[in-house]
Amino acid sequence: MGRLFDFMLPDNKSPLTADSTDGLFHFINEVSLIFLVGITIALIYFAIKYKRKSEDDKTPVITHNNTLEITWSVIPLLIVMVVFGWGYSGWLNLKAVPNDAYEIQATGYKWNWNFNYENGAQTLNELHVPKGRPIKVVMQSRDVLHSFFIPDYRVKHDVVPGRYTYVWFQAEETGESVIFCTEYCGTSHSDMLAKVIVHEPNEFEQWLELNGGGIQGTPVEQGEQLVSLQGCQTCHSIDGSPKIGPTFKGIWEREQQLTDGSTVVVDENYIRESILYPGNKVVAGYQNVMSPYEGRLSDDEITNIIEYLKTIN
């Protein structure tokens, strides 16, 4: 602590993953500063000391100096080799998940994060974790590339459709940290935020138990939870205001004009088709940006969502 460039970094809330990175960050900055000051002083000093006095100035012929060339090649080479080794070992640590890590599944899609826990608990844009325990987040994407970034923990990894990637960290203090998406993914890329909420271990157990078992209740209640967990409200309001997509308010049996000029009446089949293949019938005035949910929601879940949509008036 108390390093010259501390002001550049956010708080270190996961020392196991951040310490090595921070140390190297400070090292490079400090060595670079020494070099930069040296270069700047040399430039200014030479400019003043050797200022042109007349157009007839004679300058010495100094073509080269092998000792100097070797010196200023080898010293930087040695320094960058240290930097390489340091960065490499820090990175190996970021790849090596401790054996007792607690695993959480994450899914990124335009423009939300879903987190799934071992006992069926699900959250939207909130990653609840216990303090003082290594956490492994296993990530997948439903549509395009995303990237999962927690500045406070110095961890980041791209979230790639068609494969799993992971990050790990161990939060050492309770509180919240921001999660950014750092791979450009379209209109609301900059709103694809989530937060880590770090609990005391016993509080976390309580939270987990309370939210365990997943989605429950009557079909309408289940539909409401699904709509909330699947992040539908990022793009579809329930209060009538237009967002990236049309509002859910009064959607049932509404007559919709489509981009191709035809109209449809919103019924079970239209909603089902729009969830599974959103590009087929796009409402006029909106872009075709929704990710298809084919293979991600079961028939029962779609039915429950339809039951819930019927109730929003």
Binding site: L43, A47, G87, W91, F149, G279
Partner: protein
Amino acid sequence: MAITEAKKMTTLQVKRFKPSENPTNTFLTDEKGVWAWMTTVDHKKIGIMYLVAVAFFFALAGFLAIALRTELWTPAKTFIEADTYNQLFTLHGAMMVFFVLVPSIPAALGNFILPMQLGAKDVAFPRLNLASLYIYVAGAIFTFAALASGGFDTGWTFYTPYSSDGNGAGVIWVTLGVFILGFSSILTGTNFITTIHKLRAPGITWDRLPLNIWALYATSIIQVLATPVLAITILLLSFENIMDIGIFDPALGGDPVLFQHFFWFYSHPAVYIMIVPGFGIISEVISTFSKKTVFGYWAIALSSLAIAFIGFLVWGHHMFTSGQSAVATTVFSFLTFLVGIPTGIKIFNWIATLYRGSIDMKTPMLYVFIFLFLFSIGGFTGIMLGALSVDIHLHDTYYVVAHFHYVMMGGTLIALLAGLHYWWPKMTGKMYNEKLAQISAVLIFIGFNMTFLPQFIMGAQGMPRRYYNYIDQFTPFHQTSTIGSYILGVAFLIILYYLVKSLFSGEKAPSNPWNSRGLEWQSTSPPDFHNFDHTPVVINGPYDYHKPMEEFQLGLAVSHEGHDAEHAPAEVDTTEEKA
């Protein structure tokens, strides 16, 4: 003269050709009219047309940058919608990279200067040179077609599957535009390589080649070898977009990381296409304004080639967080540090050149000093990003944005400005207002640092790039950055003002206003249609300031050797020498 060559041949009769200070025939007076310009194969006119085109795109993309910075004044919406913002930053990046940075120094200044520094009448393939200009224009038309067909918002990197996923016609048009543009780059590269090999004036041996030529040589090699890969990548992307062939899109069975490999295989060497010619300009200017031999000629010359070579092997450092293999990541990080060494060597050699020089802080030299400071920061932050663990934290944040602008704008563009001011008298025959030029250089320095230094800080604190909205804590950094960008904008307007003004009412430029020993300065200002009205003969290195100026003004004594007889020699000195 090369002794061996002289032995084989008969002794060359040379005499002194002092460039006329009042040329009656110049390339500007010889072929006039719009049609003559449009069909010219003169490398100087083509270079100037490239310069105008590059300036146009720079103004356009710079204007977009100002709009983007204005939008970022507040954390939420300031004056444009998210979709517009996303299109604007894509357009800013794509235009600056493909239409400004890549062609700026080689195709604009390089075209003008390269044959003159070689003592040649033109490049080796003048018609290909003109073709490359028209291909550039065709690429530009495709880009505007992309705008007309709904625009594109993929970022200049066109990452899949976002770029192949319902993004429509815009992406296809612009990528085809970039595809076409690539051929312009390849043609310029081929032309330069051939010219450097085959059209050097008598006496220009490889160890008397100006460092600017070495830099353009290294650049041309990269252009010829790397650009085809971009072309193939873009074709594959278009096949996927148009015919739904699964190459990069996982929904069709492709691999998005593969696209990143292909893309950076070109685009990493491409940043050396952008910066290495800048190194050439720095070497020329620093020697002229220190009146001194360049320190470490071979170190600077060969480090350009080393950068060109190693530059091909580091593309994976853009992909440390992408999910590429761990072995690849390690190797790429290691090689990345190696490419930093030749760059460092150059900086040290330039500074050593200043030692005991006769330093004249004219505008071009001022820009060289700015370059050395800004580019050093760009280099150091590059080391930061090459370090594996730190890059994990900094990747895709404003830190990368700042680093990129420090090397590309603080490096390439500042070097371009140095070269533009350095060669402006030669190109136009007019002097610009030195005072205004100095003021705007200082403004650029202030504005630039104000714009991009805060971006290092907020990037390290976590601010991701390509964000339309941002969280409140970054507001002061964004606002400082925005003010800086306005200062930059004003500075560039001043430059535009006094450069244009110099064309009309500028003082007449002498043939060699900086007393340089470079061959290009031994022509009239502006140069003759065939650059020199004699075949130059070179007996000294381009930086031999300890030799008298007379020795740099030699040409073949036998008149109309390779020239048409109608071009009378300008001013013939009676001195005759034998080489």
